[in-house]
Amino acid sequence: MSRGTLYDKVWDRHKVTTLPNGADQLFVGLHLIHEVTSPQAFGMLRERDIEVARPDLTLATVDHIVPTADQSRPYGDDAAEEMMSELEANVRDAGIEFLDPTSGEQGIVHVVGPEQGLTQPGKTIVCGDSHTSTHGAFGALAFGIGTSQIRDVLATQTVAMDKQDVRKIEVTGDLGEGVEAKDVILEIIRRLGTEGGVGYVYEYAGEAVENLGMEGRMSICNMSIEGGARAGYVNPDETTYAWLADTDYFQDNPDEFEALRPYWESIRSDADAEYDDVVTVDGDALEPVVTWGTTPGQGVGITDPIPAPEDLPADKQDTARRAQEHMRVEPGDTMAGYPIDVAFLGSCTNARLPDLRRAAGIIEGREVHEDVRALVVPGSQRVQHAAEAEGLRDVFEAAGFDWRNAGCSMCLGMNEDQLEGDEACASSSNRNFVGRQGSKDGRTVLMNPQMVAAAAVEGAVTDVRELEEVVSV
């Protein structure tokens, strides 16, 4: 068992008791809720005549079903309208703050939590959403839960959890041009497997991680679950504190910032902390990674050949064969040149301001390929407005991108934004499962935002480092 890690320390601080079944009951510092996984939990509370214990530690937003084009009410989709109305009623009855689209603060739950300054080091954070691991970027212990557990948290502000092992993943060196946090995590999942993290929490460390801004760290922690790890975190440091100091919350409460800082320092993993496993990744050697298959672990460097199923471990071969058939790719080829129909820049993985800036840097002076429909869906209204203020919207629109309102959008196709038929999509999102983007025949290629931009321009998966200079800017 690990000792002296951030995970151990935050766990111990929040442990209420050990339950008779052996699980620990943990206090929850922040409970984030959204419209898809919470309504049934509120229903269960009503059935049992239980009130929400700590509405003051609960925050709601709407993201999965919200339209990104026409947001006038009632929504065009009756089902979406019903889910929105249900959430509105639930938060009103319970007295929970709701960042709705009229607030200017709405967005994807894993984008708005940090923006609000509520995602903080040393907090326990849960949400009925597997990408809750995102918040670990701040040194929080954050994990996704199911709806019955949401019921538990609403009723008690605690959750029952088994303690897990800690694997330290050290990413050494410097990331090269065109290589991003997304490539780091895709490489980690490729190496350790989609189930390699089951039973583990991942601690991301090493200079390549420490040199990332908070948004990059969020991209990495976000996809921990795609590697099977329910939570991932980065130890808080000056980068973390500077980001937090800049939030409205701590701008308004500077005394609290100073008061909390010793706590934040104290929960960092000790220099002599003990881990259950340590893995090293050479950041210098990374190139942009794209997926060739239908799990996030089926990735490959942009200049590397797609593997032959028979060269993979025995338990991966069958999945790989079916994936290659679905994606229509051949072993030995590279993914470069794979034609795409759609470019999607969005999701809780990669739709924050620096993500959009980097993509815009590629797009500027270029045009979206005539056979491609391209859309940008900012992660939140704050991101959207900031991007508009600094002219990014103009850059994207001039190139032929659709500029949308904030939400989960085409990451999972629960609103109108979906793939059609067998369209192939260059996507900055997190899952390439069959059917994920709304069409069961759709084909998703995961990649970093600059690579999405390059694919949008070229109409095919493209090594962004190979794009010719723009001469006409």
Binding site: V16, P20, F27, R48, I65, G122, S130, V198, G435, K440
Partner: protein
Amino acid sequence: MSGEERAGSEEVEIPDVTEVSGTGIPIRGNDIDTDQIIPARFMKVVTFDGLGEFAFFDQRFDEDDREKDHPMNEARFQDASIMVVNNNFGCGSSREHAPQALMRWGIDALVGESFAEIFAGNCLALGIPTVTADHETVNELQQFVEDHPDAEVHVDVAAETLAFDGREIGVTVDEGQRKALVDGIWDTTALMKSNREVIDETAAGLPYLEG
């Protein structure tokens, strides 16, 4: 175990789940994700009622809603209550809609090589065991239920054994899961709520909740 039966008061009766018996259904393949188990478009609902018919929908039906080859479409498996799966079943999204859909289709227990963590936790919250066995055992069981769709399979959660075809084989049930199921403490709301004082003490010791 349905919502209706649980309704009424805070004092919820939580049944022990010491064993599950029934016929089996094989769902083959590794890394079957929750988007396959229940596609997102069927999650545009505010209750879990009726999700059963949408379980594995895109594997079971084509674009014109015509049935495709899939065990869940076969008459011989319609009464099955034990689903036999392979590696990393239930990976991906945390949606409880996935085990809810399987439960409402009729599944009371899953036997597999391995399960994704959040999925297994969601199953436990519904009183559904996720029992693991080695690759060979799972393959044999899949073949057995394929050949004998009417034969009973017996999962003993308490004893961690699996019985089929006149054989009894040792299997693994996660220790916490086993205790929760066998002792009938898998629904944790009331249990945790009863620790109110310690919860408040824990909260009082957290720096970020002071002031």
